[in-house]
Each structure stands twice: as structure tokens, then as C-alpha cells.
Subunit: 145 residues, 2 copies
Amino acid sequence: MRMSTKAQYAVRALVSLNLTSDGAPVTIKAISEQEKISLNYLEQLFVKLRRGEIVQSVRGPGGGYVLARHPADITIDQIIDTVEEAIMPLSCMNDDGSCSCGLECTTQAVWQGLGQQIRSFLASMTLEDLTNDGRQRLTGCVSNS
Amino acid sequence: MRMSTKAQYAVRALVSLNLTSDGAPVTIKAISEQEKISLNYLEQLFVKLRRGEIVQSVRGPGGGYVLARHPADITIDQIIDTVEEAIMPLSCMNDDGSCSCGLECTTQAVWQGLGQQIRSFLASMTLEDLTNDGRQRLTGCVSNS
DNA sequence: AAAAAATTGACAGAAATAGTCGGGTATGCT
DNA sequence: AGCATACCCGACTATTTCTGTCAATTTTTT
């Protein structure tokens, strides 16, 4: 059971974007420096985030990325869905996904239930929640750079 | 976000064991054939399960494995903990696990909350629950072999 | 047209996982 | 005592997945 860093990076980058932005586009270079994430890797993520309509790109000089929607309308599970394929791929079923009426179906039900649990948890948190949380922490702490 | 097949195999094998057993030890060879899992791979898993006191081994001819505890006292998260190291390793923190007071702490809180969610879900299901479920399915279906 | 900036796709290194193989050790039956 | 059964253990390999990088292209502004 593990969460890919890809998902973690995407969430962090978006929180950073939302936190930094004053309405004008933010370059991923700025995010990269602030979050210490490889610039090129971030590019990959933002390509997917744009396709998933989480962010909008503004090309040309002075360009960058802006949130495509209000942060309260962006949930964490949407972000994860966008950057990786599935939140929880199941490898326990027969290759064709059918049920052979053996024990697999029993255990499958467990993982599927778990998957739903995970999803609903992630769906209950929005980017705005995290940003507010992050803002609090930043002001409550001494600067660290 | 994915669940290792190791955990899935372990759970399936234990359900199978509990389902097949009439009190006498069950050989992993039998489980291997029933669940179509490599014998040697299963052995590896059962070594860990024995160390984790989920099962007990009976040596010599006529031997095999028996559950070490009542199935109602074996929860799924115990099984997973036993066969793999951690349910949810976090890679989002600084290598030493400290908080650098940046945005990491915000997003860390998300993953940690998620980890607890997952754990409590898996802790709420026992081997007995799954076995009963499996028994129902087996009798409710036509034989498939 | 030139320059700046974003987009794209292909690619390589690293890490984790799945599964295999061979030998060893303890136990019970004859 | 000896043999067969069945668990125990460590090392090894192949495969997949993930992470991260590089180079080339397209678009927009000046």
C-alpha cells in the first residue's frame, strides 16, 4: 500500500500555486523553486492537470498557470485521478476482470470497499481547505529560508 | 495508490485455509493448488505469517498449517502488517522525517489522515467475516471446476 | 522576425515487486 | 534407524513501475 510521490507532488504544487497567486499566472519555474521539485517533472504533471481542467495555461511571456476553477471546487481525489491513472488498481481479479466464483470475489470485495473509502476521504477535502491550512502554518511559523 | 499482490495473496490464502480446514492442518500445497499461487511464493508468505503468530505450523507427515488464533481475532490489517513492512509508507517528508515548516506539513497531514482511515477500515474486518462471506458465495454459486 | 515561454514526446536510470530455485531441518511412520 | 513428508530459509533473476531528464516543437508577445 503506497501513495505515489506523483500524487503528492501534484497536490503540493497546486497548493503552492493557489497560495502564491494573486490572480496573475504563476510559472512552474517559481513553483519548482519554492517546492524543490524538478522543473521538468512538474511540467509533466501540469500537462495532465491542464488536460484534466484543473489548471489553465497562459502562453507567451508573462504566462504561466492559473487554476481553472475555484479552489473550493477542486477536490484532492480529482487531482490524483488526473495525474495518475487509477487511485487503486486491483490486480487480484482474473485477467479479464470476471468472477470465477472462487475465493477471489470475497477478497475483491474487501479491496473495492477500501478503494471507495479512500476515494470518499480524498473527495471530502478541497484545495481551498489545504490552502487555508497552509496559510495558517506559514504565518504561525518563523521563516525557514 | 496501489495494494501489493502480496497482501492480496496472503488474505486469499488465509481465507482458503480457514475455509478448507476441519481442524486438521492444511498443507500449503493444497492451498497453492486451490488458489493457483506459486508454492514457493506461498511458503515465503507463510513464514512471515507464522512469525506474526497468525498461523501455526505442524511438522512431519500429515502436517501443514493451522490458524494460531480464532478467525474472529484476526483482522485484515494485521495480516497486511505481517506480510509487508508498512501499510502506507510516506515519501513526502524530508528524508529525516522532520517538518521544515514549508508546505510539506500541510500535505503530509492529508496522507497521514488517509493512512489512518485505511487502517481503521482494514482493522474493522476479520478473517471470520471474510470466510463467512466466502462460504455463502461458494454455496450460492454453481461449481466452476 | 526574434525571443521568451509553454508544450510535447521519447528516453534512461533506479527501485520495488513477483516469482523461482535449491538446499536444509525437523517430525512422524515403518 | 531410516525414509518420506512437509516446513524453513536464503539467494537469485526477471519484470514491471516509477522517477526524473533531455531535446525538440509550438505559441505568443515585442
